[in-house]
Subunit: 551 residues, 2 copies
């Protein structure tokens, strides 16, 4: 039996386009000899549709789109397609499900049993859990249908389980021969290893083959890596699909040697790079932007964003804007120009001296007799943000913010200044990882990023001789503390107990709390870690942490 | 039996302060002869704590705070306090619950059965549903304990039910004598009438008294109106508490005549006004700001925000900044100064002419030969945003954005410009309601808002003779379309069928979709309607709506 995994890149809510993609991929698959096709989760509408799901009209439209697909594939073979659907009569409830299209008909629905409602997931906001997973008979085999989260609750694999039931166990008890898993499983660093190991463990435990079909592409903050795969009853990977691009994988379940097992690259630097390129490209394509625009400061962050953008949409579509001030070092300008030349992107240069003076003059009567402080630094940053937005307004192009995750965590960034932009591509990349991706990039390509950008001490250059480390701990230290504090929710006292300087830990925690209001207004980023600021980070603003322990 | 409803205003996560508030209120209540006290939902931590709940340490701290309260009330009487708590052994799960403090001990826990996960609510993200509601025996009566949503699922009252079970029915079957409902039920216009009518209907249906104890105060975007109340077995309101402020209500259950029934004012204008004043005051207090700052344009929106701020934190703590341009009419400046004088707030005036010219000069080489367009309008708005932020940075004070809901819906506002601020107090108030609140305010106080501000045609004054209605439909029409489109999810074709101009409807819908990226980066607002942009509005950005029906 040959099962095709249609690893497509849908556009959220573009039902016509998505239906066409499914038909096209299914056509290719059946041509390659597939007996049946499987799509990712919610493929007809794209994942995640978020609050668009609250519109009942849209759910009806999905059914119409499924009928369109069914008509166009009726002479080719069955297609199991991810879709939302209603069940119930008097009171309809919505499910995250799948429909088996066969002979031009919508023959049968399956539904998702476990609905994730953590991190970026809000599925209980939209869906009701379907009562138990189902299977269908095909060519003498029982094929169990699971949807994404349904396979992530094995009691032996996980120390902590999120749900009381396990659809895989249920299907195994029903005697299925293989299980397909239709997924839109977001990328994060290291997750693919966990997923492969979990699938292997499930296959071995139940002696059942697993076919995992994942969405690929970027949808807003979420990136889907593809990497669909098939495992035999021994848990061996017998087929694996492309990563970070679309694929039509026809898996010969009975003759593993007919399949292709691709080597995936799990080096964090290349994973990060590929994820960012895909995420940025798709955000721009799907929101209708062909050109990008960013400020080039001579620092590592803007260099990285420029490199990602040039790769994502072509250097000819990227403009780097140099906006030097009296505090910009000559080196910064030279380094930016060298970077732009290496990447082949266009540049514009606009000095901000006159604008700084104009703000000083305009504010003089109000600020009479007061010292310069962070106010004037923020003004520089906001002038630059304004200039980028003005160029975008007049000439088009998406403004990219260039801040990294470490900055965003501690608030070392200016709201309405360097935080301006339609997308903030590296806002989930810690500073130390920005550096290591830059070094990796220079090793694997001809050196794209001028070495001086990597080696010089990081500086916002908003006042004379300013360095990031005047205020912040070394990034190596900062990123470790941030990882423990944010990602792992380790209490401050325990971080200190691990050997970090107490004052540093407390000051970092306090900076993280104080920067919440900035993050609330930050542009969307691209999630590459287990916990990104953005849709999966929902903190109150006007709150104070006090307790009886600490006082 | 006398049951006290402690209608307190907690600060999210400030366990010490909240514990003190509970002890203080309980002290008053017992002094007034209460036999037992009840707090609102999650009173020890404040609602909503959002992702702070993911920190297990905090849950332990809540227990500690409860112990502190128990110690301090042990000789007074029992206190039923809202708190998160763990259940389970091998694998602990978290509940939204209540603990009965008695004799210095945490004697017994109750839990919330129905967990809302819609609109602004994310309770399934944090909590597991507790298995069924419970009751306790007190002075010969069975007192049923429900938490907020638990009472909102009656099959006779609601046309559509969200849950399969009904804790009120369960408690009635258990033969309870009265039901307390511990709530943090957010304010929205008209909701109180529904709530009172629902409680009345439940009381009559089961012949059970209900005691509803609600949180009061603003926590970020959510406002809680208080308005706690008690109903007898016939559904008559026998006691009602203060609105928009703290209260300690001692309800004599057996002798209704001993209680106070307050008249609440449900006029939409006064409700809006009171909610905004409370929301703004609490946001500022709870995030540590004593002073506020806003741009005064001479228009109705900034006038309304100034009036709210003056009432909320005192006029002496509010500064209105006039930032005229060559396009500002003389009237606008005069009107702003008159408004400021009426309110008693301070003003500053900074002309933006020179800054506009400085931007023009700096951008001239890039924009050579191009016409002026919306770019230059946005620059004016951004200059003003920058000046406000600079004043805030240097002199302190929270910047208030002044945009209304109609503007935010269609994107008639400038990101990083007039959308700048720490809070956007009227971002959930449609333009037509802004006008009617202004008229109501002038009727009920001496005229605070100069009549000309109310009567002149609305204009952003970003180019000569500009009027909002050059681009937008009349606000009366716009607000009706927006209400149908956003609040009620009515499909475009059905809105048109109601008699609205087809082109106008389609253009409004398209503007709403296009403005999503701006709303994503907008400051938090104060929710006063059933559906506010903000935490309860979760739309994708890079999405396209296509379907087979429409094409």
């Amino acid at each position: 039996m040959r099962i095709a995994l249609l690893q497509i890149n849908p556009i959220v809510c573009d039902l016509r386009k998505n239906a066409e993609k499914i038909v096209l991929a299914a056509g290719k698959a059946f041509e390659k000899g597939a007996d049946i096709c499987v799509t990712p989760e919610l493929a007809i509408i794209g994942y995640p549709p978020r609050d668009l799901l609250l519109n009942p009209q849209l759910i009806d439209n999905c059914e119409e789109a499924l009928n369109w697909v069914a008509q166009r594939t009726k002479n080719l073979g069955p297609v199991l397609t991810g879709t939302p659907f209603w069940s119930g009569h008097d009171q309809k409830v919505l499910h995250n499900g799948a429909c088996l299209l066969k002979g031009g008909e919508l023959t049968r629905y399956f539904g998702k049993t476990l609905l994730p409602s953590y991190d970026v997931f809000d599925e209980q906001r939209y869906f009701s859990a379907y009562e138990g997973p189902g299977y269908f008979d095909f060519q003498g085999k029982k094929i169990g249908v699971t949807i994404c989260e349904d396979i992530w609750n094995d009691k032996d694999f996980w120390k902590k389980r999120r749900y009381g039931t396990d659809p895989v166990r249920t299907l195994a008890d029903l005697g299925v021969d293989l299980i397909v898993n239709m997924s839109a499983s977001p990328f994060s660093l290291g997750k693919q290893k966990t997923r492969a190991s979990m699938l292997g463990s499930l296959a071995r435990k139940y002696h059942i083959s697993f076919l995992f079909c994942n969405q690929v592409g970027g949808n807003d903050d979420l990136i889907f890596a593809g990497r669909s795969m098939a495992l035999d009853e021994e848990g061996m990977i017998i087929a694996s699909g492309r990563e970070f691009e679309e694929d039509v994988m026809v898996v010969d379940v009975d003759n593993p040697d007919n399949n292709q097992v691709r080597d995936h690259d799990y080096c964090p630097e290349s994973e990060t790079w590929n994820a960012l390129v895909l995420g940025l490209r798709d955000y721009m394509n799907k929101s209708g932007f062909s050109r990008a625009l960013l400020g080039l400061s001579g620092g590592i962050d803007s260099a990285m964003v420029a490199a990602v953008a040039a790769r994502a949409v072509g250097p000819e579509n990227v403009t780097g804007v140099l906006m030097p001030s009296p505090y910009s070092s000559l080196g910064s300008i030279e380094d930016s120009l060298e970077l732009a030349a290496n990447l082949g992107i266009k540049t514009l240069t606009i000095s901000i001296d006159d604008l700084m003076q104009a703000y000083d003059q305009s504010l003089k009567p109000v600020f009479k007799g007061m010292q310069k402080d962070v106010t004037e630094e923020n003004i520089q940053s906001r002038i630059r943000g304004n200039l980028l937005m003005a160029i975008s307004n007049k000439l088009g192009g998406l403004v990219l913010a260039t801040g990294n995750k470490s900055e965003l965590a501690v608030g070392y960034c200016t709201i309405y200044g360097d935080m301006s932009g339609g997308l903030s591509p590296i806002s989930d990349v810690p500073k130390t990882l920005v550096y290591s991706v830059a070094r990796w990039l220079n090793r694997t390509t001809h050196p794209l990023i001028p070495v001086r950008i990597i080696t010089k001490a990081p500086s916002a250059e908003l006042k004379p001789d300013q360095k990031d480390q005047d205020i912040l701990p070394d990034y190596e230290i900062l990123d470790q503390i941030l990882h423990l504090h944010i990602q792992c929710l380790v209490p401050e006292e325990k971080i200190i107990a691990e050997g970090f300087d107490p004052e540093t830990v407390r000051s970092v925690a306090s900076m993280v709390k104080s920067a919440e209001f900035k993050r609330r207004q930050s542009p969307p980023g691209l999630k590459i870690t287990d916990l990104a600021f953005g849709t999966g980070w929902r903190m109150p603003l006007a709150s104070r942490c006090s307790s009886f322990t600490k006082k």
